[in-house]
Symmetry: D2
Subunit: 349 residues, 4 copies
């Protein structure tokens, strides 16, 4: 628990008017080691955050303001960037220069290969030195580097969910090249708060659709980078609910393995990971179990008829898929307990 004698970490949130920013604020409000000291947002400057998020309650909510990254020194020791890509990299640079540690929730520092930005994000990267330094913030794979990092690239939501489902197979067994299919389903909040016709209630309600089919989604290079370069077929779908990602991942092993072996391997792989839960044989996770939490829940099945492994993986896209994982990274970067402030449980119903 927090020692009254120890000052809390002062935290700024850029892009606090978005869904991830608001969840960061809500959870940090109760964090024992950190406190939010600045909420940045350009277009909503001057508005209290609870005017955008009534669920924060009617009482005193701090106001959003237009923040100057270079002028934050003293006011903040740490920054979360919930900004659109391109914009994010240009805010990260002066913050790092001013001595703050930064977790960036955009895609700007996730890809090691700078040239991939031209292909998937349609722009040239302007901060290649920082890109080279940035650590990919998936604690279950890169904990040691995260602890030493000044700049952490928080993984995408589809990415986190899919990589954690497949990494044990790729690191410890032989997966047939080209055999991976990831069929992913996301809640609508994954698309962000920006006003969008296709996210109007009437468009999404009582409907289900696929998008970005055929290999165009920006999370693909990120998934492939963390899975050792294997090419994957990745199909995202839109669920008529707000929060949650469900990835059904298919792979062929050479040679094949049985469920008991695989479950033992997964349990061992994640034995030190407080936020990955491997389900017992015969059980599979559902979105409900991770809603509002930082868990990634995994279930493993083998289709004996076809020899495929089917790994089912669930996260809350704003939780382990964004804001809560960002706090997990902050905890590691600042020497706090990895799970501090993240003991969140899902509603039973």
């Amino acid at each position: 628990m927090s020692n009254a004698a120890t000052a809390k970490l002062k935290v700024a949130i850029f892009g606090a008017s978005g869904y991830s920013g608001a969840e960061l604020y809500r959870v940090l409000r109760a964090h024992p080691r950190a406190e939010v000291t600045a909420l940045g947002a350009d277009s909503s400057a001057g508005v209290p955050l609870n005017a955008l998020y009534p669920a924060l309650g009617p009482e005193g909510s701090p106001k959003l303001e237009k923040l100057d990254p270079a002028g934050l020194k003293g006011r903040a020791d740490f920054a979360f960037l919930c900004l659109p890509h391109v914009q994010s990299m240009d805010v990260a640079a002066p913050l790092i220069a001013a001595g703050l540690k930064v977790v960036d929730l955009s895609g700007d520092f996730r890809l090691k290969d700078a040239s991939a930005y031209a292909k998937y994000y349609s722009h040239v990267h302007s901060q290649e030195a920082l890109l080279a330094e940035a650590v990919y913030g998936l604690p279950e794979l890169h904990s040691a580097e995260i602890k030493k990092a000044r700049l952490v690239a928080n993984p995408g939501c589809f990415t986190t969910t899919s990589i954690l489902a497949l990494a044990p197979l790729l690191q410890r067994l032989k997966v047939r090249p080209g055999s991976i299919v990831i069929d992913a389903k996301t809640g609508v909040s994954g698309g962000g708060r920006k006003l969008t016709q296709s996210f109007q209630f009437v468009e999404v309600y009582d409907n289900f659709s696929a998008y970005g089919v055929g290999g165009t989604h920006r999370h693909i290079p990120e998934i492939e980078q963390e899975l050792g370069g294997q090419r994957v077929t990745f199909t995202p779908h839109l669920l008529p609910l707000s929060r949650g990602i469900f990835s059904t991942c298919y792979a062929e092993l050479e040679p094949s393995a049985d469920e008991e072996e695989l479950l033992a391997l997964y349990r061992d792989f994640y034995k030190a990971a407080p936020f990955v839960r491997v389900y017992p044989q015969g059980e599979l996770p559902t979105l409900r179990a991770v809603r509002g939490t930082n868990f990634c829940d995994l279930g493993i099945k083998v289709d004996a008829r076809t020899g495929r492994v089917i790994a089912v993986s669930c996260t809350d896209n704003l939780g382990k898929g964004a804001a809560f994982q960002a706090i997990q990274n902050m905890n590691l970067m600042c020497g706090f307990g990895e799970a501090e402030g993240l003991g969140l449980s899902a509603l039973t119903t």
Copy 2:
């Protein structure tokens, strides 16, 4: 239009208290060539159908009754069976013997290999002669036999959706054996009206789950039978909505093909099929477009990076997936226009 001089076909519905039975009744009520003359249901006998389905309106709805198959002669010329499997085959036999034509919506007459019933349905088939005679009622593949049949096995909902998505590939190109993955998502009505804890509102709402993962679902042998025996990996999921099936189907071609070629092939394959709509290049169907209709909507994409074909397929599980396809079969069996009574359009929102 119906000729006043021609008497309408007299139709009995067994198992009319279930979801498919009620939709059959609703649509046949407005069919120009047929009229419902008997509604069978054992446990709800004596209850008017609109007491179970208030959406039928408060006015005069016929009562459900305990029907004797052998005694229907004169009262009905045609029967739809919406009964549980095993029970269905034993009702079909006396109906056929009494000279009625029958569309069976259960699984009892779908599998050509009688021994598969032991494996997937846990029972020995009691009507092997009828099984041998029964025609698999997918009009897009078996129209000629359906027209001559006395007994048609109406396909399953997942089955219809998946077979129509993949049949053109398997019949006209070479699909790499073992490469097919079908990731299917269904609305809750697919599970039937029987009271079930896992279908209580609170369990399903704001949730998403997979079930029957790893090759155990009863629709698998049916899909494989119609796809020429290829083994498929099939994973069903439960969507938090009432009606609709969305199948995302993955296959590898040898050699590969491009989207234009494939779309041309699909359009040609279904050129005489009034209820299959192939979407233009770059467009994909959504569940909304098929809700309340007899359409199966198809969209085709190629992932150039991995060489996979991705065929997206949508139906209403109670429409083309059950009741409306059953009426399409009735139309063919009785020499009516294939689309009579089925000009149903989806709400725009």
Copy 3:
């Protein structure tokens, strides 16, 4: 049925890109006596309607175009206006002048008291002569005038639902002045297709809210006008679903009456109304039964403890609450059968 020798009525829809416009198009597509010959929309001109409404199906959908009201003669005999208020009255005038009959779905011609527009719509009415001529298009109350009208003001969705629930009481019994409370709940499509933050999926989903509480809603003067000037307390709420209005209406009678009497009175009042269904004693309608239909379903209860009548009323806000009622008005204005093209039934599930 349509006589091939009789030419169909040529119909233009202004504002066809909105929800009501699209439903008008969909239903008129199958109307035996009318055909759509022009689809107006300014900002989406050039776009086929099914690009906005994929549920219309992938095949040939006509294009939206910028329409000139004065130049429609010959191309259309009849026009539906699904335009924003103020804009609507200025399109109606040249159409009437050019000899077309018009149903206006905006609020522009609903209020007999022109000065009420200043109060509830914040503008001065520019077409007072047309306003004086316009007929309030609730067929159950004004059928005779509608049949002779050139210009019909189609009622609001809350309005239709609430007036039909209360009119029998006010016209035939004595309601205590000031005792009426209307607690109304609407689906999200009632707010229109315009991009709105508060109608984004994530805002509405898994939520419920009241709005316009305390007597500010524009439907209030319309309800009061049709209920003989009684002041009502009206509270609209937003349901997390797309279509449907459910009004729970409370009134005190002087003297009180019992349920049997009231039900007999309602049945008599609506005996010639094909689209009002009065439920048997002890039964109440639900939204499901009117979805996709032109019905207004009514259930009546008396609270013996407090002496209040509780009238429950359900419509589809885009059906009897907008597009379908507009077609009902067209049918009456053009001498067609009142129910032609409107034999739409709700899905059973």
Copy 4:
């Protein structure tokens, strides 16, 4: 925070397989002063609680067991009863006799007038002495008695929501007798976990309905008891979502009052209540803001045209409407801080 030297309160939950029981377990698991030592359930005895509630996570969940109330001494100091009425009163008696303190979540000890049980619950009360002793557990009204009580009757969900909305008016102003109308809307979990046809997903989804209309609901005598005996018209409705109660309450004051006065009165009335939030003028609560919390959120409007006060009130029916309020009562009965273990915040989206 919990002092390691102080033993935690040992708590038994009877009826732990139901929705309230499971939420009690979930929240008490993290309570600093209490620990769950026994989970009672008859029909699911032997099953771990997370088999019924996967959202509790895959790890070690205690098993449900058949509990003997008389034999709990030593094992538990405190009991929550989440049992059906009638059953509950007969379990409470031996627990009280064995020296445990009890919060009963059923209706068995809520009504001071024992004869009301015959009318609303169709049975004669078997524990009249305990009924006389029991305290009505609404802390905002009865905090002093709750602190001294052995047996607390936890209020109903509709009841809590409605009483807190209206009590300030009735205790401090003059409300016209007979003028109160409560139009309440509840999520489906309010109906409990018992398997019920009308709570199957397909029945509730995309639907809205009223029930118990006309003064028959069991929460009516409870509301009237706590509002000083005024008769109220109370209409419950079923929302297509899992959790939350939204009450729109109408009342006429004699003389009338304006919004500023009323808001000042409400703020003063609840100034010591940590879980009632009165919204600023012009703002109204929504269900989202209370989901997963112990808050009751209130917004007050005056309809100047009709003189009515409209009080909007929101709770989570399993939170302040059941389990969390029960813990609030436990905290008061055991001398803990009123809010201990209840610092739960709603997700922002």
